[in-house]
Every structure is written in C-alpha cells, then in structure tokens.
C-alpha cells in the first residue's frame, strides 16, 4: 500500500528536548486530550559566572500524554507550540482493543518522530510564510 504523504495526520510526535512544559498546547486543545506534568530543577551555575548570579531553575518534562481516542487531529497543539516540539507523524496503524490503550504516553510520542516525513518542497514561485514573530513586528 502506498505510504501516506508527508504531513498527513496520522499521529502526533513529540521532540522531547524541545518541550519547555509551557502548557500552551494543553490549554489550547479543544478536546482537553493532552496531559502534561513536570517539575522545576535547579540549574547549577556555570563555571566562570558571576558569584552573585541569581539562582536559575528549569522545568523538566515528566509526563506527556495524548488521548488519541478523543483527539480530533485538528493540529492546534502543533500550530501553537512555540518551540517546535510537536509534529505530524504519518503512522496510522495503532488501533487498540480498548480506549485506554489509545492514550499515548511520552515514549510512544517520541518513537513516532521516525514517522515524521520531510515536507514536500513548495511549488515554484510560492510565497514563503513569514515567521510568526516577524509578522508581529517583533523580529
């Protein structure tokens, strides 16, 4: 059977290292089907930094789950992610014997990165969309 084309809406893949646990995708999801948990971690000061530097912390992702029994594949989470952590993967064959098994946890979401295909090139002469930040005059 022919492979699905790039960007076809099979599953949603997660690039874990890009996720900052900002919760934007969770709060924008119209189906309430994304669950995220994380915790704050202290970042040790770099060597040579000023001794009176304010202590820094970073947020570490502990859990990222998408309920694919509920997901309407609208892609709002992918569009709103400011850090490019979510992508359309072409995988479709993950039917399950129960709705609970359709809740994909972080491990499966990361594995689906292999199914993210490089988008086809734009048509010749197509206008390249500006980066969202530039569009708002902030660049």
């Amino acid at each position: 059977m022919a492979e699905p084309p790039p960007r076809s809406r099979g599953a949603i893949a997660l690039r874990e290292e890009n996720c900052t646990v900002c919760m934007i995708c969770v709060r924008e999801c119209p189906d309430w089907c994304i669950t995220i948990d994380g915790h704050a971690e202290h970042v040790p000061p770099e060597e040579g930094s000023a001794p009176n530097r304010r202590p820094r912390s970073t947020t570490v992702l502990d859990r990222f789950a998408i309920d694919f029994s509920l997901c309407m594949y609208c892609g709002i989470c992918i569009e709103t992610c400011p850090f490019d952590a979510l992508f359309w993967a072409t995988d479709y064959a993950y039917d399950a014997p129960g709705p609970r098994e359709l809740i994909a946890e972080k491990g499966r979401l990361v594995d689906w990165l292999d199914g993210v295909l490089v988008p086809e090139p734009l048509d010749p002469g197509a206008e390249i969309a500006p980066e969202p930040a530039r569009r708002r005059g902030r660049a």
Partner: protein, 160 residues
C-alpha cells in the same frame, strides 16, 4: 436590525423583490437574555444575497412560515434550541430534541455537563505541587464553557 413589529412585512417585501430563495433561519444568543433572529435569502436571478435580522421581543417573535413555508422547519428547531416562541407558527411541535429534554442547548448559558465533570488538564501548573508553592495573586488559567457549579476544587480555597 429590523424592528420586530415589521419583521414579517419586511421579509415578505424582500421575497417579492426577488430574494425568493430561502436559505436558512437561525438565532443568535446576544447575551443578557437577548435573542436575535437571522434570515438568509438568495436572489437566483439577481445573483445576490441578503441577511435580515431582528431582535426577539423577550422570547417571542412572529413566524415567517406564512411567507416562507420552508422556514417553518427552521423555526421549529430554533424554538427548541433557544426557547423562542414563534407566534403564529402553523406547526409548533419540537423537531429534533428527544421528549422531555430539559433546557435549550444552543443558548450560551446552557451548561455543558461534560465540561463540569471532567477536570481541565490546563488548570494544572506543572511546577506547583500543592497550594503552598503558588505565587500569590497570580491569575489562574480557566477553560471556556465550564458551568458555574464546576471547577471549584479544594485547592482553589473556595471551600474555606
């Protein structure tokens, strides 16, 4: 927005002026108990279309079924979905909702029960576990469409 007492007369005039293809009739919940009725008409010969609106007088509005028989179906649906009474409608029976359905589901104040019983995952702050660590006075994110009776948890401190 047309005055409600000239609603039927104005629509009739539009129909005789050539806007004789009835597309749909619908209702808009304007908030604060105000409901407006919208009619969309096409003129196939003139290749134009027309939106006409009026605001219901309380919960009553004259029926257009005498002018546009097809609008009767739309008015039956609008009546049950918004709790409007279409005065002079030839067939006021409910159309879609099951017998005994309580409420008018397309009104903005209709509670969506599922949004009340399911916990919104966006209310969670990943770096805060327990109320003690929350910065004071910071606005909590809230989900749209959650009924008034829901969404108040122990953590919010609203229960004393």
């Amino acid at each position: 927005m047309l005055p409600v007492d000239r609603w039927v007369e104005t629509v009739e005039r539009a129909v005789t002026d050539g806007f004789d293809f009835f597309d749909f009739l619908s209702v808009v919940d304007e908030g604060e108990g105000r409901l407006s009725v919208v009619v969309h008409l096409w003129s196939l010969r003139g290749r134009g279309h027309l939106f006409l609106r009026t605001e219901a007088d309380g919960l009553q509005v004259p029926s257009l079924a005498g002018v546009l028989p097809g609008a009767g179906w739309h008015e039956r649906e609008a009546a049950e979905m918004f709790g409007l009474e279409f005065l002079g409608a030839p067939d006021p029976r409910p159309l879609l909702l099951p017998d005994g359905f309580d409420g008018h589901p397309l009104r903005k104040d209709f509670p969506l029960a599922a949004r009340g019983v399911v916990e919104w995952p966006g209310a969670h702050e990943p770096t805060e576990h327990g109320p003690a660590s929350r910065p004071p006075g910071r606005r909590r994110p809230a989900a749209a469409g959650v009924p008034d009776w829901a969404g108040q948890t122990e953590e919010d401190g609203t229960h004393g």
